[in-house]
């Protein structure tokens, strides 16, 4: 059962990822990316990291994708088509990617992973205690750092996107 679900998810992820990087329509590409991300969250559900899955859905599907759609709406018209790279370049890069994939997979398959059989379910409580622990091995400091980072990037994004008014005030009076 899980096996079938995993294969379906893997297929969804890979097919839509390829679609996402090769689509000529901007927004479609974003939606394909959304499918990829939902598929990834499905994998998290499968391996019982429900919290992570929900985070993936909230942050990526609900946040990043919506932001992307917004920016596409602002900067793109529905009838515009994306310019693709030259065929020669695409083939070259695709070839390089394939060779890289081969190298990576060779490395992965030649390595013996010591897998521990387990079916534990991680609860939100475990994650919370680990993340906010200030004992040895606790993650309270990076957690706070990340919160500062988020605040900073929020302010930065607002400041940058707000920008300066491009219209000249003198022109308004005319």
């Amino acid at each position: 059962m899980e096996k079938i679900i995993f294969y379906i998810l893997a297929l969804v992820i890979i097919v839509f990822a390829i679609a996402s990087v090769s689509s000529k329509k901007m927004l479609r590409s974003v939606i394909y990316l959304l499918f990829v991300l939902i598929g990834i969250s499905g994998i998290y559900f499968l391996i019982d990291y429900n919290f992570l899955a929900a985070i993936q859905l909230t942050v990526y599907a609900g946040g990043v994708i919506v932001l992307l759609i917004f920016s596409v709406m602002l900067v793109h018209h529905i009838e515009m088509e994306l310019e693709l790279a030259k065929v020669s370049k695409r083939i070259l890069v695709g070839l390089a990617s394939l060779i890289g994939l081969g190298v990576f997979l060779t490395t992965i398959y030649s390595h013996e992973f010591i897998v521990v059989e387990n079916y534990t379910t991680t609860t939100t409580e475990d994650i919370g205690f680990g993340l906010l622990s200030y004992e040895a091995g606790g993650f309270i400091l990076p957690f706070e750092v990340i919160s500062i980072l988020l605040l900073a990037s929020m302010i930065g994004a607002i400041v940058i996107a707000k920008g300066t008014k491009l219209t000249n005030k003198k022109n308004d009076t005319v």
């Binding site: 390089a96 060779i99 890289g100 190298v103 060779t106 490395t107």
Partner: protein, 642 residues
Amino acid sequence: MDITYTILIPLIPLAVFLLLGIFSQKIKPAVSGVIGVAGLSTSALLSFYTAYQYFFVHGKVDGVYQAIVQKTTWMNFTDTLKIDMGVLIDPISIMMLIVVSVVSLMVHIYSRGYMKGDDGFTRFFAFLSLFSFSMFGLVLATNLFQIYIFWELVGVSSFLLIGYYYTKPSAVSAAKKAFIVTRFADLGFLIGILIIGFYTGTFDFETLNAVNHETGELVLNWASTSFMGLSVITWALILMFMGGAGKSAMFPLHIWLPDAMEGPTPVSALIHAATMVVAGVYLVARLFPMFYFVEDGYALNVVAYVGAFSSLFAAIIALTQTDIKRVLAFSTMSQIGYMMLALGVSKYEGHDGLGYMASMFHLFTHAMFKALLFLGAGSVIHAVHSNYLKDMGGLRKYMPITNITFLIAALAIAGFPLTSGFFSKDEILVAAFESNKLIYFSGVLVAGLTAFYMFRLYFGIFWGKDTKYKHAPHESPISMTLPLMILALISLFGGFIPFSKYVSADRAGFDAHLNYPLAAVAVSVGLIGIALAWVFYKKENNLAEKFSNAFGVFYKWTYDKFYIDEVYLFVTKKIIFNLIAAPIAWFDKKYVDGTMEGIGNKTVVISNKIKGMQSGKIQDYAFSFIAGVVILAMVFIYLWTN
């Protein structure tokens, strides 16, 4: 004796130069004049204080004036060969300090009146201060290299001041001419310095000039390689004298001096009459022991003959010139030739060193009365707005002070008894008589010619025909006449200074006295010259014209300065440019530039081809990065698995 403060003498004008130069647009002309005069006055006071301290308080040890040196190492080449910066105080440098500061101060004061209303007033004073700084530095230099640095600085300021009216093409070309000619001469100077540095291993004046009093020879072991029958040191000295000749306008490097009169008249007074042009004399005097002892004074003979010839040559040209500043310029050249001649005939010790002392004495007195002559001429030019003798005449009624001071100066230069020029000229002639009769006779002839052309000038300006002026000329303002009067006083009474007590070749001092027979000869020759001038030019008549017609071709040659300029032009333009420079330029353009341009073109072509790699797109770089990583990974996997 602590002489550290003397460093301030050049540094104050430098500070003034920087101040005026940087803020030249902000400072009002009146203020900049005051600043310049104040700076120079301070330097002059310090010079006088130094002179007093040296001559009367500290300088003399065991009856000999010591050279006091204070220096710091600037560049260290080897253990012995190093270049210092410092100040050197000895009788001639102090004498020069006095001359430079007094004349410079007078010129500063004078310029405040003369340059009034000029656009570049502040610039002018900045340049004057720069010149004063360089000249003080030159005078105080402790070694050949330092003197060379200031030598060039002096040249630069001279260039700047000649070309002061840079909107006037003649001024610009005169500045360039002066610069190029002196630079050519300085090439010899530089080569001489390098030869000396190579063979003696030192640039220091003290080491070079040190004299062993027991054997009466240079301490320095100068016996070295010979070249074309002469010791290389002699060659070096001759080359250095070439630099001095360029700066001092000796034949045949004199051609820049007449043209340099394009500069403002105070500049001519300061630089091209009193101070800078005697730098050559000062250089020879500075190295006098070397000149005298190396190879029995062969180089010194060159100095003497060049000086004598230049002196006669310039005096002859001065007879016919009509531009009053040019007359004075040739007169300057002639008088400097006199000084060179005196140095050339001098010996080293005691009374035998009379020529050296006389040369320095004449330098001093000449600076004063020649500056006075130029300033007086400036005053006249200021009044009639012309340089030419034909536009002048009968000015004595309009400009009494200028008239009297000019007369004093003319008497002094003609060697009229009891004026300063009389004493110094007399001693030169005495020295020449004791040494070389030929030079003596030419000196006497020059004395007569000098008296004649100087009074030709004087009568032509202040007596002669009664020119009708558009605007009635008037006496110059007090700021211009005051320096005239001060300089006139010095010219009158400067001869009574017991110079030989203080300045002599071996620094010991001796008693000089008049040689009455020789003095009588000189004076009578001078008086004959004055009388001839009286006859020709006192009243308006055509005697002079008849006389010059009688000389015909010779007059023409003299008037055109013996075509020396044309010779130069022929040599440079026709011979050097066409036969040497043009082929070299062709080779340079065709092969040297061609190679360089070829390399450049090839680089451009190649870079055009490969610049696509630097697209500036991170994506392309990322591709290279990932491809590189993958290839490296493959290589490593291959290596590990085998």
